[in-house]
Amino acid sequence: MKKATHLLTMVLAVTLLAACETAPQSSSGGDGGIDDKYLGEWKDDSVDDLQFDNDGNPILNNVELKMWSTVTNPDAEYQDQIIADFNKAYEGQIKLSYTGGGVCYHESRFSIYGNFAKTVNQDPENAPDVFYGYGERIGAITNQDLIVPVGPYLKMANIGFQKDYFETKLIDNCFVGDNLYGLPISVDTAHTLARKDILEKNGLTVPTNYLELTDVCDKLVEKANAGELWVRGNDTAYVAKGDPTEWRKYSVAIEGPYYPFPISNGDMWIYDYYAETAALQNGGVLCDKSGMPSFASPEVAGGLQILRDWIFPTETSSNKYAMSAPDLNYDAGAKDFYAGTCSFYLDGAWGLYVDTAKLDTMYIGEGGSKDNLAIINPSKLLCKDYSKDYSKEIFGDSHAISLVKNTTSRAKRVAGAIFSNYLAEHSGGLWTKAGHLPASTVVQQSTDDYLDNPYYQKYVQYFGTTDLYQTMPVSVYYDYVMNGYHTALKQATSSIYTSRNIIDLLSDAQEDAVQRINDIKGL
């Protein structure tokens, strides 16, 4: 049981480091216990099938665990590797696998929550033992009665728990009342990539905020319209050069209008990151403390206005020219970026590995991605007023892992707690490859796992620090809030609704969401 106490030792190290400034009040565990204030009122309902050795450590004998995970490829691959490492480390004690083969079941975020709720309720035998989902949704699934607190089982596993081991916002998401319902693993967002080589060739610099971005984009369009824009890259539908390093002038006549930064009106990057970040940076809040939607506010509308201006510029917008073509469906700009026919590109954190690798091969003789690609920190990128603190905030999805209520075996729950802990500890390393920022402040500071990590060096270092990251506030009505907001977003950025006020769209969507929540309450 050496490994199980790993986290404890690290916590000790951190607390010792911090001891000079803040006197540690928590009686963190020489006895391997957990602070009682994090145990909450929880009556352990598991079946007592767990035995302890003489040292008070639990004896785990080939406990089989089944995990469902919301991460899909490419991260799923990395996650499976981490789990495989775990299986190896805990051989004979704990083993993760599932009937479909492999170590873990992965399903996309669009359907896994529905599937999870249905399975736990209607098909408990096939439900997982641990669920790897999103921290901000823990409140909702706790409300649905799908998971149990992890705290008591961490205690049984003799794993110490320190709240400040984790980024505050992320660990707070995992609490419902006093009960700790999961351990946060990491947080991530979508990132803006820029073709540094093209910008520099055209005498422009990489922008760092929204106003700079719109300015650069306008200049790019003007140059393109004047036939002065230098571009280079892969072949396009109109131009085939064969050599990506060769510079050419963009031709509006042949290749159509130049759009410097194509975005779609509804793919995942816009849906789940940009839209929320836009709301945040303009001071908007999507839901109130009771969890009810509150996005019909001028602040949120201001955020969405920025996205609308992106595609449909007006006299008041800071960009003169449309930065993106309207009504793009998915993967907007994915190929244009490498063809050089656009200069900016939005991609998920987990896409960066592939993105950098592509530019590395394209410009292998010219410094690869290091010299030709810029990763723009999302702070201040979606607002015009940088005076407020919230203009720096970045919206992120936080991953967290929880124990599922159907698993009644105490041994399994304890094993699940140990596994959760393992993932939290190993949120650096390979996991960094997928562009995830570790939730653990300790891991963030570890050189081996994180700071010297090639992926950190290559791209993660540009992502901003975790304290800038905000998630959705915990809402038991998560689905309704998000559905409503996404509907408004989709409409606001669609060419069909340009005649309608954004605040009206938001109000309609919010009204509908509130109505639905009330209907469900009154059912």
Partner: protein, 338 residues
């Protein structure tokens, strides 16, 4: 009847051997006849009762409760009476609003698509029945879309009409957003439904036209009835039964409109133009709110009443009427007068 009463008293009275034998064997025969009948019917009837009658009744009951499939409780705590229905009848709840919007939308599709799915196949069947060159090929091809899963053909249409890479827009030189513009998306759904749904009716009309009595056409030709007129007054009455059946099945099928819209409305930005009533029901059933099944059942029952009303109306309207006696009476009067 007295004779039956007498049989009861056989034991007391004297009988002939033949009467005794007949009585006994008749009973045996009747028994074995019914035993065979019941044995033949039993597998089906068992399935009918289990998977039709029982669900039908339990569906009505469920609609009066707050019902959870995984944890079915029928008691005072879950009893809802007609509250579910009440909520459906007021549009101030999202259930009622969605339901009536769904009904409105469904009826809209019915009104537009059903005539297309009757008239286009009828016209095509008529043309194929003229036996131009290659009519066998045309017949084969025209039925083709009906045999493929709509999810498959829907996927093809979805890609064909895609704004970013579908060939349709470039072919017509347009830049119509077929997949997210509410109006164009509705048009696309109608086009697809007609494209994919004409085959079945076409085949029926084709078969019906083939079975038409050709001498009637010849007689009409001698009477001087030509072309379209002949089609209306001679051919159509002959295939009336098939027309009625097709009208019937097509409109009921359209009341269950879902798959096409599920596939092609995937990128729709305005959900109120794609949530047909079945879509609403299906969303609730496959959703994660487990208390909602009673409400869904009420919706289904209400929709069921709707559909049953439509089918009964159609039955009444299209029923064959008796000839009456108008001309016979006129004849009698004329006879009297002369």
């Amino acid at each position: 009847m007295a004779f039956k009463w007498l049989k009861k008293n056989y034991r007391e009275s004297e009988v002939t051997l033949s009467d005794y034998a007949l009585d006994l064997e008749r009973k045996k025969r009747t028994f074995s006849k019914y035993a065979v009948g019941i044995l033949f019917m039993l597998p089906y009837l068992a399935m009918f009762v289990t998977f039709f009658l029982y669900p039908l009744i339990s569906g009505l009951i469920i609609s009066l409760f707050k019902y959870n499939i995984a944890n079915p409780v029928f008691d005072a705590t879950t009893w809802r009476g007609f509250t579910n229905y009440e909520k459906l009848f007021t549009t101030s709840t999202s259930f009622g609003a969605d339901f009536w919007n769904g009904i409105r939308l469904t009826l809209l599709f019915v009104v537009i698509i059903v005539p297309c799915q009757i008239l286009i196949p009828l016209g095509l069947a008529y043309l194929v029945n003229l036996k131009p060159k290659g009519s066998a090929f045309f017949r084969t091809v025209l039925y083709l879309p009906s045999i493929f899963p709509q999810t498959a053909t829907g996927l093809i249409f979805l890609n064909m009409f895609n704004l970013n890479y579908g060939f349709i827009n470039s072919f017509f030189g347009t830049s119509t957003n077929w997949l997210s513009d509410p109006t164009y998306n509705t048009i696309l759904i109608i086009i697809f439904t007609v494209w994919a749904g004409c085959g079945g009716n076409f085949l029926i009309f084709y078969a019906a036209l083939q079975n038409c009595d050709s001498t009637l056409n010849e007689a009409a030709a001698i009477d001087g009835c030509k072309g379209f007129r002949r089609f209306i007054s001679i051919t159509l009455p002959q295939i009336k039964p098939q027309l009625v059946i097709c009208l019937f099945t097509t409109s009921i099928g359209m009341m269950n409109f879902y798959g096409q819209i599920y596939m092609l409305g995937a990128y729709q930005v305005d959900s109120s133009v794609k949530l047909t009533v079945i879509y609403v029901i299906q969303n609730l059933i496959t959703g994660t709110n487990f208390e909602v099944y009673g409400m869904v059942s009420a919706m289904a029952v209400l929709l069921g009443v709707f559909i049953a009303m439509i089918s009964i109306t159609q039955l009444v309207v299209t029923k064959d009427r008796k000839g009456g006696s108008k001309h016979a009476e006129q004849y009698q009067e004329a006879l009297k007068r002369s």
